[in-house]
Amino acid sequence: MGAAVSGPVRAAAGWALAALATLAVVGLSRVPWAEERAAGAELRLAWRWKSERVRRCRTLSPAEVAKLPAHMRRTEDCQRGLRPWRLEVAVDGAAAADDTIRARGAESDRPLFVFRRVPVAPGSHVLQVRFSPVGEGGPPPVGLDTVVSVAARRAVLVTMEEDTGRLALRAAAP
């Protein structure tokens, strides 16, 4: 079996296989791949929002109070945390997002973070963003109504300007 192939031929085949394996390593280390295959564009909404603290309480019924251990009985059950906000996004009149953004953390006391990616075709689009507090008595909502132009394979960022508290567009990295 082994004697069927002569020494030099075997050596040549051995080196050829080794070279092929090396080429495979080189080839597999540079495989062309597109993270986004289509030549589309993107509207990206990203900001951090420090919502105000809210405390919602309700009066417990006598039956509910009776169920509690004697040393833990109280008449009110209160939930604390930051107020959630509602995000509504429409592109060219069509709804692209309608979500409630809630604070993170076990106590819901971390800031609110908005992060949405909306794929769009390159070109101009009518963009409407409305960011409004959930529930009664919150601060006024924040909004953005504009026409945005996005080039192919680019993203336009909608973010909150921290000093003014307004939504603004950004097309290049800071």
Partner: protein, 524 residues
């Protein structure tokens, strides 16, 4: 289930091994050396990395890599070699893990090596990811973003770390500093894991044969000169990158995971982790199939040979309780893989797995010799069950086969008995030494048969009547060719008359020639 998978996939692996043995010989078969090749390639990665890190800048990562590639002396070459060696190291580690799994060398004392092997692979992978983040090109950004997406699903960070890479604010410089720290610190973790990886085996191999090492590194050097790596487009957080070169060895997961929710990714990772943890239990043979070695203390002469030969350091020499002035071997069953190498090392046949001690082998060999009377021109084959010697079939091209669990398990007295029973020769078919399932069986076998290592083949056996051939599971042709050649050699020898094999058991069980005094024993 696991046994069915390993049995089914081992045949193709054995055939690939056989093909590579034909091309390179078993000494240089790269698949046999995949583990040590990975270690050597990682050493190349570290050396080139040490050079590159001097020119890399935290403030302008992409620009500094561009400068390395275009203007720094040997920068492009070092960067290319750094990348290709790390890619080849990943491939070598995967091959090594696959081999170990298919050969079911994952249970008993090898569990630690199995688990640390996966941790090593994971660490190498994270090591590579941090390296690509340092380049800060399209691929680096994609890898970092994907990792951030997974991490954000866990309740670890007070705010999503993905924010750093979405263009909302400038890239924090701390990210590159932390990443550099991780990239430089991870080799320390690799070193610790590597030490753990080999800590349960005796005499671990740490480097491949020089020729193989030179060829592997030489080819990568050549590739780095002829096909050096270039620069991909820089990372732009507000761009949707088109086609760019990705390193499949490190970024293979991107096309798979980008469409999945982070929880699905974590669930998949947990599932994979559970399977990896379960493999040792799933591949473990039944206890009765691989019983640990036991020591017959009455026979033990305290020579320490089994302690020296055990590939898993499962044997200790301890003080005797019967007043004899030397030590006695003690087997730790939790470390014993039942390879039986100790049985082949013990001249008085006082140690070994039940049913496979020297005494058991001699009894089986007597029955074998009676059942297969051999003439002066005949060759009897002794074959390791994992080799291509036909141990399962019971014969190899007309010669009867006496099977052993590992060639290192074979006691030299069995060879002597077969020759003295009238066989013209004994051909031992062993696995290639670097592919021994018990690590060192063929090495000890040759030393015992031809180099006087205890328990050595007695000088009264004509060494021309004993031959060892290395043939892997799918190399039956190699065994056949060796058998044909050996038959001719045996026939040309003067026929030795059959003689009474005598009581080899009694001859072997003599009092120790020079028992080591207790005070001279030095523990390993």
């Amino acid at each position: 289930m696991a046994h069915r998978i390993t049995d089914g996939l081992r045949q193709p692996l054995a055939r690939i091994d056989a093909a590579l043995n034909r091309l390179y010989g078993w000494r240089y078969n790269p698949l046999y050396h995949s583990g040590v090749l990975a270690a050597a390639l990682l050493a190349v990665v570290m050396l080139t990395g040490l050079y590159l890190v001097f020119f890399w800048g935290i403030g302008a990562p992409y620009a500094s890599v561009q400068r390395i590639t275009t203007t720094v002396f040997l920068g492009r070459f070092a960067r290319s070699l750094h990348r290709y060696a790390s890619d080849a190291a990943v491939a070598a580690v995967v091959v090594h893990l696959l081999r170990v799994f298919l050969q079911r060398r994952t249970w008993g004392p090898r569990v630690l090596a199995w688990l640390t092997g996966f941790l090593l692979l994971g660490t190498v992978w994270i090591f590579g990811l941090t390296g690509y983040a340092m380049v800060w090109d399209v691929q680096g950004l994609a890898l970092v973003r994907e990792g951030a997406r997974w991490l954000d699903a866990l309740p670890l960070f007070s705010e999503p770390i993905s924010r750093a890479f979405d263009g909302e604010r400038a890239m924090p410089g701390a990210f590159f500093f932390l990443n550099l720290f991780a990239h430089v610190a991870l080799p320390v973790a690799l070193g610790v894991l590597f030490w753990l990886h080999v800590s349960r085996v005796a005499r671990p191999h740490l480097l491949p044969p020089r020729g193989l090492l030179a060829a592997a590194v030489g080819l990568l050097v050549l590739a780095s000169i002829l096909v050096p790596v270039g620069m991909a487009p820089p990372a732009d957080v507000l761009a949707l990158p088109g086609a760019a070169p990705y390193d499949l060895f490190y970024a293979f997961f991107l096309p798979l995971t980008r469409g999945l929710s982070p929880w699905m990714v974590w669930l998949g990772a947990l599932g994979l982790g559970a399977v990896i943890l379960l493999v040792p239990a799933l591949t473990r043979p039944r206890a009765e199939a691989r019983p640990p070695s036991v020591v017959d203390e009455r026979s033990c002469t305290g020579c320490e040979q089994c302690w020296l030969d055990c590939p898993y350091e499962a044997i200790r020499m301890v003080e005797r309780t019967d007043g004899r002035p030397y030590l006695v071997a003690r087997v730790d069953p939790s470390l014993c893989t039942s390879c039986g190498i100790c049985a082949g090392s013990c001249a008085p046949m006082g140690v070994g797995p039940p049913g496979r001690t020297g005494k058991d082998q001699l009894a089986a060999a007597r029955r074998f010799a009676a059942a297969h009377p051999a003439g002066a021109g005949d060759v009897v084959v002794v074959a390791c069950r994992q080799s291509g010697g036909g141990a399962g079939a019971g014969e190899l091209y007309g010669s009867p086969v006496f099977p052993v669990s590992c060639s290192g398990n074979l006691h030299s007295s069995v060879v002597e008995l077969l020759v003295r029973s009238g066989a013209g020769g004994v051909l031992v078919v062993a696995c290639p030494p670097r592919d021994c399932w018990s690590r060192e069986g063929p090495v000890w076998l040759e030393q015992r048969l031809f180099m006087g290592r205890e328990a050595e083949l007695r000088s009264r056996v004509d060494p021309r009547r004993v031959r060892v051939v290395h043939a892997g599971e799918a190399e039956r042709g190699v065994a056949r060719a060796a058998l044909r050649e050996f038959r001719e050699a045996v026939r040309s020898l003067a026929a030795a008359p059959a003689e009474d094999p005598g009581d080899l058991e009694r001859e072997c069980a003599v009092a120790p020639a020079s028992p080591e005094p207790l005070g001279r024993w030095v523990p390993r």
